[in-house]
Amino acid sequence: MKTTNEMHLNFPSISANEGFARAVVSAFAVQLDPTLDELCDLKTAVSEAVTNAIVHGYKDTIGTVYIDCRLLPDNSIQIKVRDRGCGIENIEQAMEPLYTTAGDERAGLGFAVMKSFTDKLKVQSRLGGGTTVTMEKTFSPRVRKNG
């Protein structure tokens, strides 16, 4: 599908940028005129992906997190969150609800949240090469006033 607008962002994997990444994605998505709830869902999903890149992908190091966003003509947005961190050994297992490698610190619900708050979720990863999470979300068409 033809892209109507796009943006590419990158920043160091420090936690101060979690909120920033969320703000950027919503400032971009707002062009599609979503409702607050739709935008909130999207932000929550993006947060989870960015947090994972920071805390799992780059663990005890600082690396670069990449975000690529595209708007598609059917009122949907595609978001890629990429890191060049440690990668995931078993993607299926990682995506299972409650599965976490972070012990008691994390709930293991990140992927479950991404899945339920977006319409499409794809995870690609290579051990030692990094992880790319691709999410898509379509916003409801606006109800016309007096229409």
């Binding site: 909120g19 969320r22 703000a23 919503s26 400032a27 707002v30 005129d33 979503p34 409702t35 607050l36 709830d37 935008l39 909130c40 606006r142 109800v143």
Partner: protein, 77 residues
């Protein structure tokens, strides 16, 4: 004059962090009112129009309260 202006700025200007929360609060109230009246949620553009601010600023304001629910609860419950 520059110094006076700086003084005024330092002492009287509202910090963004503080005003954002006020804006977010207004946004949540406006959303509530709109939903009651129209039986559907406002879109972000509609919300920005009601509040008469830039939609980028609405986004930023909502960002200042990571989870809107946490703002909502102490006020309405």
């Amino acid at each position: 004059i520059g110094e006076i202006r700086r003084y005024l700025r330092d002492n009287n200007s509202i910090r963004v962090s503080r005003s954002l929360r006020d804006t977010a609060y207004k946004a949540m109230k406006a959303k509530e009112a709109f939903t009651n009246e129209h039986d559907r949620e406002p879109s972000m553009d509609e919300l920005a129009k009601i509040l008469d601010i830039d939609r980028g600023d609405v986004v930023m304001a909502l960002e200042s309260i990571v989870d809107p629910v946490s703002l909502y609860e102490p006020v309405f419950s």
